[in-house]
Every structure is written in structure tokens, then in C-alpha cells.
């Protein structure tokens, strides 16, 4: 039985997150010798004590300091003793000096830290038993380490608003806030939004938006993790669990093609929260967007498909997996016998292993009519790939096409970093109405944009991969100056699907050609995997007509999408948090996907479905080891593909669409009541609302 197929690629070499110590003002390689807690060490000049101490595995406690936000000098808990200095110094803003002797743990230091903690607790409500942060709270931890254990406070604590609705995603408890201003600085430095401020003064300080409007943008959730205490909490996770009851998995987010590393926490099979992986310098730079963080509820949605469904003259009836697989194989055989074409579309939402097996099985069955493209995008692999580090260090960034800031949100944070901190010139050929909050130049055409490029320096082009004529112009212009490209794909694993060979070959039909053939009655059976062309194809009506004209349509899906409703057979699939394998992101990194939960009973991964189909045809299958090796090889060696338009389709200008937001994607967010509540509040602008 198909359900018995176990396929777990488990731990993967792909991307090993590395903890890189960031050094403020660090000069190239000039080393300084010092002693911390009796241990001699050499660190680059300019290193701050708080970072230097990490090298000898000594933790200096911090609230306001954060590696990615730099020192602020506000909380005063990072006190250390530097010999020769009469006062305790703050470790977060004291750079190393030659011959410096530092003590991070002694009576004087601990007394200073103890005083700071005693003061932080004067007005802190100590409602740890009902606080989301309880168990992973820096205030609890440092109070245990340095606190007095008793209090001289004889007066009532200051009362402040609790449960403040800060915006669609976040609830703020003002009493728990230690005013470290990490959230304020993050919003300014990293997100370039500057919505959050400290209001009022002194002990009446509160965190609020400057305008009084809801705190809303694409990256709000990160502040809940930057918050060292339980002041900023996520609406989706509030009062849901204690951290020690959660089971944690590290995986790659597959909600868009950026590939951010994330921790996914589940309890009793429910995904409760996703958190950022701070050490993920290569991909996410340690951040998540709000969709990657919050859109995890749909996995347990009530309207999830959990049984194969056969369309019996307009009525979907449940069938068993055995019947479903044999019906599928029979339909393909009958089409082939009748001299009709067959085809398969998908891969951009599958794992690499699945995308590889998809083309492998269908080629073995005898068709080259294979394509991952089911939307507007024509190509996913640029002529010369840039990395996110290249983007960060670019002299100029060219942004062309459909809102890459919404399609690949966390990549946009790199653009902000490149522009605001490294002085990159940002040139946009903009389709979005919303202008970014950072310095940029808007060009009316690709030609104008290219003419605005600086004569020297690395150029990185961020493009949507839709209009191949634009792609050709970019390719030609970049070839002469060694420019790099990043294609912000519509589908999370579009590049992986391309690398795995989910493209027509040897005269095979692409998606557009298959739809045309269907219209002429020449397509006998079509299998769709995780794609929704009736919603996303450049001309949705053409996709609808094609599916209606095809005698047997198989759709592997999580929900009854517009496309699934036109299927002959609907196969209940598993989502990316329910299976293991790999994906390839925008930058060409091979990234691990690790299952956090088991899918609902009755669902199968696309890999298991394809194995089942292969068995129906008696086809030989690669072993797990062979599959794993092939995927790594293909991912590593895949080069750019030709700029091919979808057949017969001027893909880029057929249908005018409203600007995308990060919540669009596959439409999964609509199945999570928590997200739809946010939409109902009209706090997140989107056209997502669908039947």
C-alpha cells in the first residue's frame, strides 16, 4: 500500500547555519590581546566586550544590546569590571583594548547587575505564570542568575495598560516592558518603517506607534522575538503553550522562494508557532516575514482534504487510495491507447525529490509534456545567480517587475540593508503604488533603469521572471558588466523544479501548449501537482477551458482550490511542514525541509503518490540513496535555462492584476481563521479574500 512508503531524507548537509560573531567597527585583521576572566584571547580591533566574551563561552547578560541592532547602552545589565577603570563599564559599548583585563563575573560585577535587576523588577508585574515568555524569558533567567531573591519594594507597583492591541499581529503588555527599545530600533534600522516609538517619559515610558495607527507591515512579528521579556506577544500564539511543552524542528520556510530558516514548534500535532533562526546569516539574516511566521494554521484547517475524491458527474465522492491510484493509471493508459497526449504540471510547490520523481515517472510512462510553470512566470534561474550576500554588498540594485518586496519579503530586508547601511543605489521599474521608505530612484522603463546604473561596481538585478523580453534586455546588459540576477519566483521551489528537469524536452509541450492541445481535444489526461492555474495562470479563463476540455484531470492538493474543483480525481496531499526533503531557493541554495508534524490521516506526500503511480505501471524506482544523490547533483550543476515564453502566451500583459501582497501566494492563508480575522479587521491590505 502506498501509505507504507516511508520516505524521510532526515538530516541533510545542505545549509549548516553558522554562528558568525559580528564585530562592530571591526577593522580588517588587526588583533588586540586582552584577558577576560583570566583567559587570554586575541580578537580583531574594535570588537565589543560583549562579543569578545562569547569567544571564551562567557555570557554577558544583555537586554537592549542585540548583535544585529548594535549597542544602545540602555538596560545597563551588561556591566563588567575593567581593571584600571573606577566605575563598572557596559560590555555592549566598550571595545577591546590592548592589555585590557576584564572581569565578567565577580562580586562587584554581580552586585551592579543585581541592582539593575532589582530596579527592573520594581514595577514588573511578575505575572510569569500567565506570561507567554515564561520559561524562555531573559528577565527570569538573569533574575535567577544575578537577582537578590528578595525585594525592598514596599510601595504598590505602577500600573500600566495590559493587553494593548498594537496592530493585527501583536498584543503589548506595557507593564512587562523593560524599555530596551529593541523593537523601536528594529523597526527603524532593519524594517525601515519607523512606526514604533517610545512615548511619554521616565517611568511612564510606553511603546506605541508614532501615529497611533495599528502597527502593521510585513515584518512585525520579529519584534516578539527581539523582545527579551513578555511585553510583545503574537496574537496567534498568546496563551497557547508553555515553551517546554513544544517540540521544535528546524526547517526551511516554503511560503515563498527566499528559503528562510525557521524553527517550527508543535504541540500534540498542532503547529503553534514559527520562529526565526538568528544564526541564519546566509539566507534570512535571522529574520522572518509575517507570512512565514504566522501562516501556519491552515495545516489543521477544517476544510483540508483528507480522502481521495472522485468527481462522479459533478459530485465528489470519497474513494480509497488503491482505487484512486488504479483509476489514475487506467486513465493515462486509455489516453495513450487512444492516441491522445498526456501531461503533468507542477513542481514549484513540491520538494526537489518530488519534482525529480515527477518528471522521472512521467518520462518513463512516455511523455515529455512536463512543465512546472502554471502562473505568469516564465523562468526561475537567472543567467548568473547572485547570493543574498551579493545583494547586500551590491553597488546598485535594479528591481524590475511585480513587487519583489512582497513576493520575496525577507530578501527585501537585505535590500534595505544594502541601501541604508552599505550605500547601494536602488533603481526600480515599479509596478507597486507603495513607494519604499528607503532612498531609491524610480525609472519608467527597463532602458531608463539601465541607463541610471553607476559605471562601476557590482549590479544585482531582482526580477520577477515574467516578461522574457525584459529578461533578454537584462541578460544582454548584465553580460557586459558581470551583473548578477535574483528571480523572485511565484512558487517557493520554482528553481528546484527547473533544476530537477520539470520542463518540456524533445518536442514536449509546455503548459500553454498543453492547454491549447486540450482545447483541440488532443489531451487525454493531465496531472497537476500543487498548482492552481485557474487562479494563477496568466490567462485563468484559458486554463479553466483547458481543464474542462480534458477528459481526465488529476489534482494533488491540500484544499479544494478553483483548479481542484474541475478535477476528475483529487488527491489529498501533504504540505511542506509534513514531509522532509530539499528545496532550492532564489539564490540557488539547496536547503533542507524537515517534517515538524505528520500530515492528517488519509493524506500522502506527492512523492508517495508518484511511487504509487510508478508501481501501477511496474516502473523501476531509484533507491532513497540514489534519489538523494541525484537531487544534490542536479541542484549543484543546474545552469540557467533558456528564456522561454509560455507557448502562445504573451504572459506578462494578458490580465491586469492588483498588486500582490505577501499574503497572496498559494492562497493558503485564507484557510486559517486567525489570518482571516486579521483580514476582516481590514488591517492587512490584500485581495486575498476568496470563496
Amino acid at each position: 500500500m502506498a501509505q507504507n512508503f516511508e520516505f524521510s531524507l532526515g538530516e541533510r548537509r545542505a545549509l549548516a547555519p553558522t554562528g558568525v560573531i559580528r564585530l562592530k567597527m571591526a577593522d580588517a585583521q588587526e588583533l588586540v590581546n586582552l584577558t577576560i576572566d583570566g583567559v587570554p584571547l586575541s580578537v580583531p580591533k574594535g570588537t565589543l566586550l560583549v562579543e569578545a566574551a562569547k569567544q571564551i563561552k562567557q555570557e554577558i547578560p544583555v537586554y537592549c544590546y542585540h548583535t544585529k541592532l548594535g549597542p544602545a547602552g540602555l538596560c545597563r545589565v551588561c556591566l563588567v569590571e575593567v581593571e584600571g577603570m573606577p566605575k563598572l563599564q557596559i560590555g555592549c559599548n566598550t571595545p577591546v583594548a590592548e592589555g585590557m583585563v576584564v572581569h565578567t563575573q565577580n562580586a562587584k560585577v554581580n552586585a551592579g547587575r543585581g541592582m539593575v535587576l532589582e530596579l527592573l523588577l520594581v514595577n514588573h508585574p511578575l505575572d510569569c505564570p500567565i506570561c507567554d515568555k515564561g520559561g524562555e524569558c531573559d528577565l527570569q533567567d538573569y533574575a535567577m542568575a544575578y537577582g537578590r531573591g528578595s525585594s525592598d519594594v514596599a510601595d504598590p507597583k505602577q500600573s500600566k495598560p495590559k493587553g494593548v492591541d498594537l496592530g493585527p499581529t501583536i498584543v503589548l503588555d506595557e507593564e512587562r516592558c523593560v524599555v530596551c527599545q529593541r523593537c523601536v530600533r528594529y523597526d527603524d534600522i532593519i524594517a525601515a518603517e519607523s512606526q514604533l516609538v517610545v512615548k511619554d517619559r521616565g517611568h511612564n515610558d510606553i511603546i506605541a506607534t508614532a501615529t497611533g495607527d495599528p502597527y502593521a507591515h510585513n515584518f512585525t512579528g520579529n519584534v516578539t522575538e527581539l523582545c527579551p521579556v513578555g511585553a510583545l506577544t503574537s496574537k496567534t500564539y498568546r496563551f497557547k503553550s508553555r515553551p517546554w511543552d513544544l517540540v521544535r524542528t528546524q526547517t526551511s520556510c516554503t511560503q515563498c522562494a527566499v528559503g528562510c530558516q525557521q524553527f517550527v514548534d508543535q504541540r500534540s500535532g498542532s503547529l503553534l508557532r514559527a520562529q526565526m533562526v538568528e544564526s541564519d546569516d546566509r539566507v534570512s539574516d535571522g529574520w522572518l516575514c509575517d507570512r512565514g511566521r504566522y501562516n501556519i494554521g491552515f495545516y489543521t484547517a477544517d476544510d483540508r482534504i483528507t480522502q481521495p475524491l472522485y468527481n462522479d458527474n459533478g459530485t465528489f465522492v470519497q474513494v480509497g487510495w488503491d482505487d484512486a491510484l488504479s483509476m489514475w493509471a487506467k486513465a493515462i493508459r486509455e489516453a495513450q491507447t487512444a492516441g491522445k497526449a498526456i501531461g503533468a504540471i507542477g513542481g514549484g510547490r513540491l520538494l526537489n525529490e518530488e519534482a525529480y520523481l515527477l518528471q522521472h515517472v512521467f518520462r518513463a510512462i512516455g511523455t515529455q509534456n512536463l512543465d512546472w510553470r502554471a502562473g505568469r512566470q516564465a523562468v526561475a534561474t537567472p543567467a548568473r545567480t547572485g547570493t543574498y550576500q551579493d545583494l547586500e554588498k551590491a553597488a546598485a540594485i535594479l528591481m524590475i517587475g511585480e513587487t519583489p518586496e512582497e513576493r520575496a519579503p525577507v530578501m527585501w530586508l537585505r535590500v534595505i540593508k544594502a541601501v541604508t547601511r552599505n550605500g547601494a543605489k536602488l533603481i526600480r521599474v515599479a509596478t507597486a503604488d507603495k513607494a519604499p521608505n528607503i532612498a531609491h530612484v524610480d525609472a519608467k522603463s527597463v532602458e531608463e533603469a539601465l541607463s541610471l546604473l553607476p559605471a562601476q561596481g557590482q549590479v544585482v538585478v531582482v526580477w520577477d521572471g515574467i516578461d522574457t523580453s525584459v529578461g533578454a534586455k537584462i541578460r544582454d546588459a548584465m553580460a557586459s558588466r558581470n551583473g548578477m540576477g535574483l528571480i523572485a519566483s511565484e512558487q517557493p521551489n520554482a528553481r528546484g523544479a527547473e533544476a530537477m528537469g520539470m520542463l518540456p524536452a524533445s518536442g514536449g509541450m509546455d503548459t500553454g501548449a498543453m492547454f491549447d492541445a486540450a482545447g483541440r481535444g488532443e489531451l487525454g489526461a493531465l496531472s497537476l501537482f500543487g498548482v492552481n492555474p485557474v487562479r494563477n495562470f496568466s490567462n485563468p479563463e484559458r486554463a479553466r477551458a483547458a481543464l474542462e476540455a480534458t477528459p481526465f484531470v488529476v489534482v494533488s492538493e491540500l484544499f479544494m482550490t478553483e483548479t481542484a474543483r474541475l478535477a476528475t480525481l483529487v488527491l489529498p496531499a501533504r504540505g511542506a511542514y509534513e514531509k522532509s526533503g530539499t528545496v532550492v531557493n532564489i539564490a540557488g541554495d539547496l536547503l533542507p525541509v524537515n517534517a515538524s508534524v505528520q500530515g492528517p490521516v488519509g493524506t500522502l506526500s506527492d512523492l508517495e503518490m508518484l511511487v504509487g503511480l510508478a508501481q501501477q505501471f511496474g516502473l523501476p524506482l531509484p533507491t532513497v540513496e540514489e534519489l538523494e544523490r541525484t537531487v544534490i547533483e542536479k541542484a549543484a550543476t543546474a545552469g540557467p535555462v533558456a528564456l522561454r515564453e509560455l507557448h502562445g502566451e504573451a504572459a506578462h500583459d494578458t490580465i491586469a492584476r492588483p498588486a500582490r501582497t505577501i499574503w497572496d501566494g498559494g492562497g493558503t492563508a485564507a484557510h486559517d481563521p486567525r489570518i482571516t480575522r486579521m483580514l476582516a479587521d481590514k488591517m492587512i491590505p490584500t485581495e486575498l479574500v476568496e470563496a
Binding site: M115, N123, G202
Partner: protein, 420 residues
């Protein structure tokens, strides 16, 4: 009597707000001479040799402060700190309103000395009248060609902008002032970097007090030696002392540094009839009290430090034996708790905690355990703060708490009656 009128000369006698009057009395002569005849280095040298130290509170040598500016080709800024908000200090207020052109001439000389082409003056929000007077002085001086483009036929151009604050004590702290001047929340900046390296708009900046800059005018007129020959070994020249409290004639008195504490009380008319001396707070609200044993100390930077206090901004507040030091301590701590920007923990939480405890003492509801807490918390928070505001809570509080402890002990109630 040691009272000597230098900056205060003519105040109360002539309408120094009138630019013609100011010029008839020799005003702007030094400024024109500096631009025409002196190099900026010569002005800086005069400031350095005079021994002039910052009159805003820290007492840092002015010439040395200017010398910290890096020669990196970046624009430099001079900012005149006229946010005088230290309780008990009222000298800059007087200079601004009574002799605005002297203040301006000092700014111009300072700007020229550091090689700056745009100077700013940050005027305390509450000084509405002073702001208006100074704005008029600026307009008159501009019309008279005292600043603007290509001054006195040279290539040197200088712009001056007056900015009115919005009423926060913390904006008198030099980096809080710079933030406020840039339109940001008035919070002190983390140092390093210091303003000399990255100040206003991130550029090398000198922040000088009104009185400090004003003394540049007589220093240039009479020479550095004239200034440095007055005062004590390391505290040179003159100082305007704002005397307040329990004296018969409170007011601003200008005198050589080194005048004794006892003499200053006498200059201000002595104690009120029938009262006995209790304490003097010699350097503004941020300074510790000194007592009877210090009456013959010279009033200079070193001696005040030796007495356990500081000269500060020259705010000299006298307390006689009628003073309720519990109320005075509460009032002082309440001020700092109210003015804390809230950025850093010790100041934000410590000030507010002490305020609430002292408030109970004022109401006669102190606890015996509070005495230990006041001593422990009051002294421990000093030195832990981001800026000097938090470190200013302790000095007055602890100095009077220790000296007049019986007054505090008398406000302790039996615990069960406190009701906290």
C-alpha cells in the same frame, strides 16, 4: 568686595538689547578684529591660554574641548547650550535677555575659533521672552553685517540659527540637546562616539555654554593673561554665581573664582535675620550639599570637589536651620524622576522608586527598612547610568540624608500603620 562686573557690566544701566548701544560700548569690536586680523588658531589659543573652563556644569577646559575636533575635512558645528534648566541656575537666562548681543558675539567668536560656518543656539523652551529678544538681536546683527556671507570683506561666511526647545531638562545634556536639535526625541546618546567626533548630524561638534562663550569676548579684548591672572591655580577667571535660597539678596553675582563660600553668602546679603546656617548646595540641584566646615573653602572647581560636591553651573543655594530636608530631598528626587527620559534602567526605575519612598516620609509614613534602602539604592545607582541625570539623583539626597538623618527618622511610623 570681590564682585566684579565683566559679563554683567552695563546690565541694569544701559539697554544692551539695542545693537547701537551695545556697539557704542565696544560691542562687536573683538568680533570684527578676529575676522579681519586673527586666524581661528589664534582665537583657539586665546581660549586655551585663558584657562577658561566650561561654565555649564562640567568645568571642562574650553580650549582642550575644541582641540578634540578631528581634522577630517567634515563640516564642524558649534552649538551654544542655552537650555539652562538646572534648578537654582539663572545666569544664562539673564545674559540672554539682558545682553543678547554679548551672547551672540561669544557664539560668533567660538564658531570662528573652531572653523565652523553654521552655529546654533538651543534656547530653553520656557525662555519665550529671551528667545524673542535674541531673535531680534540676530536680525539686527545680521542687518549690521555681523554675520552672513563674506564677513567684513573676507571670504569667511557664518550662519547662526536659534532653536527653541520644548521644555525638557534632559535636553540640556549635550547629546540630548543634539538629538532634540535634529528633531528627534530628546534622549542622551550613547558615548562614545563623543560630539567632537560625531555630534550634530553626525559631524564634529562643540557644545559650549552661554556663559563660557560670552567670556571669549573679554578674553580677546583684554588678553588671555588678564583672565588667567584671576582665580585660583586651576580655576581661572570670573564666574557668575546664581545665589538663591535663604539669603537676604538672592541674585546673580559675578566674581573671581576662589571667593570663599562665606563671602558669597555675605555678598548676597547674608542669612535671614535670626536664622542659623545649615547647608549650601554649591553647584546646582545635581550637587551634594556642603556644610559649616566648608564655609571657608574657596569657591572653585577643585575645592568644591574636595568638599565632596562640585561647582557645577554656579547655582548656589543656601539652606538655613528652618529647612525641612525630608521635603527638600523629596522635591529634588521628584524632579529627577519627572525629568528622566526613561532610556536607562537605574535612572528610570531608581528615581521613581526613591520618589515614592520619600513621598511617604513627607507624609510621615516612612518605614524603618526604608532608611537602609535609601542609602543602598541612592548610592548604588550612581555610576550605572547612561548620562549624568541618573547620577545626579544621589548627591543632594544622600548628603542631606546622612547629615540630617534625625529628620528622616522622625518620619518613621510603626509598620502596621503605614498601610503600604
Amino acid at each position: 568686595m570681590p564682585v566684579t562686573k565683566v559679563l554683567t557690566e552695563g546690565i541694569g544701566e544701559a539697554n544692551l538689547r539695542d545693537i547701537d548701544v551695545y556697539r557704542q560700548r565696544g560691542g562687536y569690536v573683538q568680533w570684527e578684529r578676529a575676522v579681519r586680523e586673527l586666524t581661528p588658531a589664534q582665537v583657539m589659543e586665546a581660549a586655551d591660554k585663558s584657562g577658561l573652563r566650561g561654565r555649564g556644569g562640567a568645568g571642562f577646559p574650553t580650549g582642550r574641548k575644541w582641540g578634540f575636533l578631528p581634522n577630517n575635512g567634515k563640516p564642524r558645528y558649534l552649538v551654544c547650550n542655552c537650555d539652562e534648566a538646572e534648578p537654582g541656575t539663572f545666569k544664562d537666562h539673564m545674559l540672554l535677555e539682558q545682553t543678547p548681543h554679548l551672547v551672540l558675539e561669544g557664539i560668533l567668536l567660538g564658531a570662528y575659533g573652531i572653523g565652523c560656518t553654521h552655529a546654533y543656539i538651543y534656547i530653553r523652551g520656557e525662555f519665550k521672552e529671551g528667545y524673542e529678544i535674541f531673535t531680534k538681536a540676530l536680525a539686527d546683527a545680521r542687518a549690521a553685517g555681523m554675520f552672513g556671507k563674506k564677513l567684513f570683506g573676507t571670504d569667511y561666511s557664518l550662519e547662526v540659527t536659534a532653536h527653541r526647545g520644548a521644555g525638557a531638562y534632559i535636553c540640556g545634556e549635550e547629546t540630548g540637546l543634539l538629538n532634540s536639535l535634529e528633531g528627534k526625541r530628546g534622549e542622551p546618546r550613547l558615548k562614545p562616539p563623543f560630539p567632537a567626533i560625531a555630534g550634530l548630524y553626525g559631524m564634529p561638534t562643540v557644545v559650549n555654554n552661554v556663559e563660557t562663550l560670552a567670556y571669549l569676548v573679554p578674553v580677546l579684548k583684554n588678553g588671555a593673561e588678564w583672565f588667567s591672572s584671576v582665580g585660583t591655580e586651576r580655576s581661572k577667571g570670573y564666574k557668575i554665581v546664581s545665589v538663591s535660597g535663604h539669603v537676604q539678596k538672592p541674585g546673580n553675582y559675578e566674581m573671581p573664582l576662589g571667593t570663599t563660600v562665606r563671602e558669597i553668602i555675605e555678598i548676597a546679603g547674608g542669612l535671614l535675620p535670626g536664622r542659623k546656617f545649615a547647608a549650601v548646595q554649591p553647584g546646582g540641584q545635581s550637587s551634594a550639599c556642603i556644610f559649616e566646615e566648608h564655609l571657608d573653602y574657596p569657591y572653585d572647581y577643585e575645592s568644591m570637589a574636595k568638599a565632596g560636591s562640585m561647582l557645577g553651573s554656579g547655582a548656589f543655594t543656601v539652606f538655613d536651620d528652618s529647612t525641612d530636608f525630608v521635603k527638600a530631598a523629596f522635591n529634588s528626587v521628584r524632579f529627577y524622576a519627572h525629568e528622566s527620559c526613561g532610556q536607562c534602567t537605574p535612572c528610570r526605575e531608581g528615581g521613581h522608586w526613591l520618589e515614592r519612598v520619600l513621598h511617604r516620609f513627607v507624609e510621615g509614613r516612612g518605614l524603618a527598612s526604608d532608611l537602609e534602602m535609601i542609602e543602598r539604592v541612592g548610592t548604588t545607582i550612581t555610576g550605572l547610568n547612561l548620562c549624568a541625570l541618573g547620577d545626579s539623583i544621589e548627591p543632594f539626597l544622600i548628603s542631606v540624608f546622612r547629615r540630617f538623618k534625625p529628620q528622616f527618622e522622625a518620619r518613621i511610623q510603626r509598620e502596621e500603620a503605614v498601610g503600604v
